[in-house]
Symmetry: C2
Subunit: 138 residues, 2 copies
């Protein structure tokens, strides 16, 4: 387990530090998207706010996690599947936000549908964000 997490860091040519292991562990344990604030709470404030900002940014840059657009003003982060690599995210799944419990899920098996973009526009990436009630809240 710890081993697997260490490998993620090794593969991205990042130093293996207790801090980074802890944050990655949080993502694996919770298997849902986390905000900066979530991580601050879950970690029990053992490390600095700034460190969290910098660690998350590093992970995004390296393709270890990806960001999820949300309707309110908070950035959510979630673990990437194997397909992501440095500077190039393949985040081809739908995100689901539960209005009851606030949990954000990556629906890895739900593909992004085709969208008809008007002539003249060139699409690079499509984000689909669904709001509703999750299976635990019904």
């Amino acid at each position: 387990m710890k081993e697997a997490i260490s490998n993620i860091l090794k593969n991205s040519q990042l130093s293996i530090t207790g801090n980074r292991l802890k944050i990655l562990e949080l993502f694996q344990k919770n298997s849902k998207a986390l905000s900066h604030a979530d991580i601050e709470k879950l970690s029990g404030k053992h490390f600095d706010r700034v460190t969290i900002y910098r660690t998350l940014q590093t992970f995004v840059d390296k393709g270890i996690i990806h960001t999820i657009p949300t309707a309110d003003n908070s950035i959510m982060y979630a673990l990437c599947k194997e397909a992501c690599s440095e500077g190039h995210h393949h985040d081809d799944h739908v995100h689901f936000l539960c209005d009851e419990c606030g949990t954000t899920y990556c629906l890895d098996n739900v593909n992004i549908p085709d969208v008809n973009i008007p002539k003249g526009f060139l699409a690079h990436q499509t984000n689909v964000l669904v709001n509703g009630v999750c299976k635990n809240c019904r």
Copy 2:
């Protein structure tokens, strides 16, 4: 023109103030999504930051504008079409964010595609956000 804007406010049972007229005018003139910061700049700082926050919130509550989720941490606002009413947005179109010029468009003619949500989940609303290059930047 001014007349039409006044009517929007009247229909929502809001007082007609120079402030609100000005902000609505900005939305109509620019015909694209605006952030709080955009409005602050465009208005030439003639009114207070707090007033802008409160006005935007009021407009959202009344269904005059809607928010658009963005990958970075900024909320974008855009004028609603006729279909929206108080407390109930029908925001059934795709949003397009140009990576070059940063403009956010409401693609009013592009409908939200169907998304297959897993069993147990209940979908209320679907947001589709496309990144790419707009027709003015190619």
